[in-house]
């Protein structure tokens, strides 16, 4: 089996705790839901239900309709904009807005990052709560304390007073999860909550979800990470093209059944073989790079030394907020950085992303909503933006040429959109991700920096992306990849580095390492830096 199973010491070992599924009466259910987006039939009569104390996985390929379904169940798509019925406790409910859903004890963690950047973490966690038993007055201290408690439950260290604008995208995601949990919901719907979390954080989240489960909360859990389904879910419903393809009981859970029911195909192996030999010349060499943390709150990165050979795939592993993204941003000229960068043995001075691109470097960013998509331009123009010079003569766009290259790019990455003129908001999350991938590939970069390249991408397409990455490597492109799923780095990379506190602390070759060893080197590094700090020796 090429698919990795759950790690031995991971959440999977708790499988026995799960109550056997003698399906109790559903707490929350959807009957014959159909939803049409101006011609696109996103859902075609879906029946779905979840019981108290159950974690129900909702699976499906990108664009299958998962997010649409939970948005209906949460009132984001208000009653009247779809057909079918929603029932809570056996009573029919029609939510006109998320406020209605919340009032009925339905919590929701959206797929895209939706936070209030100008407010503090605590204020975000309690956003929309009217009072805390104190009438209309806000007790800032109390909010901060409660938020702090929830974060320590989640096993993470986020300062409740920090402004959300200074958080990394994974931290923002955790803030959204906390925001849903403080509601003490009876039903909790999580749309890909772990897409940007790494192993440790996922485990902490699972701890919380298990506690909620024991308290009888009904949960809907959407993910593309199949091991998580094995680890925590009681039942799975697979959507395909807006219809329920199959319902799977826990007894029948295997990654193969999931993949087959989602795509109708069997997958031989998830990670392709990286056969071609790695080139000998250094495509990217970074010496003594120090990256300033943005807006003061993120630590940045210190004294980074790394090389990536042509045709080599190098990964960056680490915990949330460790500075992996910052390293990429430093190289790409997005964050202020000092140090030497060489591309193909030539020293380059990168002051801005424009310089990086001129040097043949491309970056795929992590937060597609904030840093990736241009919502004012259609799908096609989103792909070609930044790559227009080859499509123009004397600054004049050549319409035909642009169109054909867009179509080719969409086909190569299997971007599912009604047409190149479609609005990007109408694309499902995974398809948006593929669109951005198409954009960075368009320029044929020599060095490709990928920050969470498969965030929100379904298993089948993930396989496509892995194959693409390997193909690029075989063509001599140097790749530096940040991925929160360690399996991904282990399966894909020729070598991966461990980042902790903004420094590179360890390195593993292909096949080496594993969750435990990586964690151990992170802990060691943290202890060391703590010691350094208390000795007062900078």
């Amino acid at each position: 089996m090429a698919l990795p199973g759950p790690p031995a010491s991971g959440p999977g070992s708790l499988r026995g705790n799960i109550l056997s599924s003698t399906t109790p009466a559903p707490l929350f259910s959807a009957n014959a839901i159909a939803k049409n987006f101006g011609g696109v039939q996103a859902l075609r009569g879906v029946d779905f239900d979840v019981s108290a104390g159950e974690i129900h996985a909702l699976l499906g390929q990108n664009g299958a309709g998962k997010s649409t379904l939970v948005k209906i169940l949460n009132g984001v798509h208000p009653a009247g904009s779809y057909t079918g019925a929603v029932q809570l406790d056996g009573r029919t409910v029609s939510f006109a807005s998320p406020a209605d859903a919340r009032a009925n004890g339905v919590g929701y963690v959206p797929q895209e990052i939706e936070v209030l950047e100008q407010l503090s973490v605590a204020e975000n966690v309690f956003a929309g709560r009217t009072g805390l038993g104190d009438g209309m007055l806000v007790h800032q201290r109390k909010l901060e304390r409660r938020a702090g408690e929830i974060f320590s439950d989640l096993g993470i260290n986020i300062n409740p007073r920090a402004y959300v604008a200074s958080l990394t995208s994974a931290q923002r995601h955790l803030v959204m999860i906390a925001r849903a949990i403080v509601l003490k919901p009876r039903v909790l719907m999580l749309d890909e909550p772990t897409a940007s979390l790494s192993g440790t954080e996922v485990e902490a989240l699972f701890g919380v979800l298990r506690r909620l489960k024991l308290q009888g909360v009904a949960m809907v859990y959407i993910t593309h990470r199949l091991p998580e389904v094995l680890a925590i879910c009681d039942r799975a419903t697979v959507l395909r093209d807006g219809k329920v393809a199959v319902r799977i009981a826990r007894e029948d859970f295997t990654p193969e059944t999931f993949i087959f029911s989602m795509s109708g195909q069997r997958m031989e192996r998830l990670f392709p073989e990286h056969a071609a030999p790695i080139g000998t010349h250094k495509a990217l060499e970074v010496r003594g790079l120090t990256v300033a943390g943005h807006s003061g709150a993120v630590h940045g990165a210190k004294d980074i030394n790394l090389t990536v050979a042509a045709g080599e795939i190098v990964g960056l592993a680490g915990l949330l907020g460790s500075g992996r993204s910052e390293i990429l941003h430093g190289i790409y000229g997005r964050a202020r950085a000092n140090g030497e960068i060489r591309v193909a043995d030539r020293m380059v001075h990168i002051k801005s992303p424009g310089d990086a691109r001129a040097a043949g470097i491309a970056l795929l960013t992590e937060d597609r909503k904030r840093d990736g998509l241009l919502f004012n331009l259609p799908v096609g123009a989103n792909i070609t933006i930044g790559n227009l010079s080859p499509l123009a003569r004397h600054g004049l766009l050549r319409g035909g040429l642009e169109r054909s290259s867009i179509v080719a790019a969409m086909r190569a990455l299997n971007v599912k959109a009604s047409s190149p003129k479609a609005a990007v908001t109408h694309l499902s999350g995974g398809n948006q991700q593929k669109l951005l991938f198409a954009r960075v590939l368009m320029r044929a970069p020599k060095v490709l920096l990928l920050d969470e390249p498969t965030k929100g991408v379904d298993a089948a397409t993930r396989h496509e992306i892995y194959r693409l990455i390997v193909e690029l490597a075989e063509k001599g492109v140097a790749l530096l990849i940040v991925a929160s799923e360690l399996e991904e780095l282990i399966g894909l990379c020729d070598r991966y580095l461990v980042v902790a506190d903004g420094r590179i602390v360890d390195e593993f070759a292909r096949g080496e390492g594993g969750e435990d060893r990586v964690l151990r080197s992170i802990t060691a590094a943290q202890a060391q830096s703590h010691a350094r700090a208390t000795q007062g020796d900078p």
């Binding site: 984001v76 807005s97 998320p98 406020a99 859903a101 919340r102 009032a103 929701y108 959206p110 939706e114 936070v115 209030l116 950047e117 100008q118 407010l119 204020e123 309690f126 956003a127 929309g128 709560r129 009217t130 009072g131 209309m136 007055l137 806000v138 925001r179 300033a292 807006s295 003061g296 900078p538």
Partner: protein, 336 residues
């Protein structure tokens, strides 16, 4: 970053002091307060009469009119919208109130309530159209600015409503203390209340959320439409109050009350750190901002700057005050 690191070696005491100072500088209103303090000091040095009772009183009096509107505009900006019709609503409410008291011979209180009602109604209309129909606030409230100006002419036939009942003139002439009247008292009370509501209540928090990111606010269950409409109504009502205070002060329901205020008010509150794009700013900041603009205008006259150059100076100082605030943020908050 580097300089901060170098500085971090001294003893604990200076460190805490430093941190406290930075904490103080980080307070939102400090930027514009500092700019204002600088200006006041400068004007006073150049011409001590600047701080004479007479001048201070004149400044405080005039700032109370636009200041009352600035309170509402700040809240509306925090909620993510803005209103260009404030001046014309002020003027319309004043002449409606004046007509009710004179032509319709109704009691003064009815006239005042009528004026406030007109303001609140226009605010409601603005809010409904912006929120429910999705017309951009710029267009709706600019349209309302024109409509209000037209209605002023229709109501008055182009002639100021004059004279007014004595009761109204008395309101304008009352000296509560230190030569300041009802308009100033109302302004201060409203400013303190509004600042408190924005800072410390759930209502205020939800207002920030609404303006910060409407989509998110909606998602977390805030009735963003209600908040926005409420803020529009508030602006309308406060504009009406301001218009009627001007009328009482001048003793005439003039047809040009409020003309040109639309940009003054927004400029003032934006100088005071309120964001044009929603979700940021405080009433204290907005009020100080507008006070600063009036201080500048008055100070330039006091120190005898040639009148042609006064407007140039106002423009330059306005930009510089905001620049100072940006520098403060960049070096003391980000770098802290």
């Amino acid at each position: 970053m580097n300089s901060a690191a170098e500085l971090s070696s001294p003893t604990r005491d200076t460190q805490t002091l430093r941190r406290r100072l930075i904490g103080l500088i980080a307070v939102g209103e400090v930027g514009v307060l500092a700019a204002m303090a600088l200006l006041v000091g400068f004007f006073w040095l150049m011409e001590p009469a600047f701080l004479s009772e007479r001048n201070v009183r004149a400044i405080l009096n005039v700032v109370s009119f636009v200041g009352i509107i600035a309170i509402g505009q700040t809240i509306l900006l925090v909620a993510g919208e803005f209103d260009l019709s404030v001046g014309s609503v002020a003027g319309l409410s004043a002449v409606v109130a004046a007509k009710l008291m004179t032509a319709a011979a109704l009691p003064v209180t009815v006239g005042i309530l009528g004026g406030i009602g007109v303001g609140a109604l226009i605010g409601l209309l603005n809010g409904l159209i912006v929120v429910r129909l999705g017309i951009p606030a710029f267009i709706q409230t600019l349209g309302m600015l024109f409509i209000g100006q037209g209605l002023i002419q229709v109501v008055t036939g182009g002639y100021p409503v004059y004279p007014l009942p004595d009761a109204i003139n008395d309101i304008g002439a009352t000296d509560l203390a230190f030569g300041l009247g009802w308009s100033f008292a109302f302004f201060i009370a409203a400013a303190i209340l509004a600042d408190f509501v924005l800072r410390r209540t759930v209502l205020g928090r939800n207002m920030y959320a609404t303006g910060g990111n409407q989509e998110v606010a909606h998602l977390v269950g805030i009735n963003t439409n209600a908040y926005k409409i409420g803020a529009f109504i508030l602006v309308g009502a406060l504009s009406a109050v301001a218009g009627m205070f001007v009328m009482a002060d001048l003793g005439s329901g003039g047809t040009s009350i409020g003309s040109g205020w639309e940009l003054t008010v927004i400029a003032g509150v934006v100088v005071g750190g309120v964001s044009l794009f929603g979700g940021a700013g405080t009433v204290a900041g907005g009020v100080v901002g507008i006070l600063m603009l009036k201080v500048v205008q008055s100070g330039l006259v006091v120190i005898g700057v040639n009148s042609n150059w006064q407007q140039i100076a106002v423009g330059v100082i306005m930009v510089m005050a905001v620049g100072l605030d940006i520098v403060r943020r960049r070096y003391f908050i980000a770098g802290a």
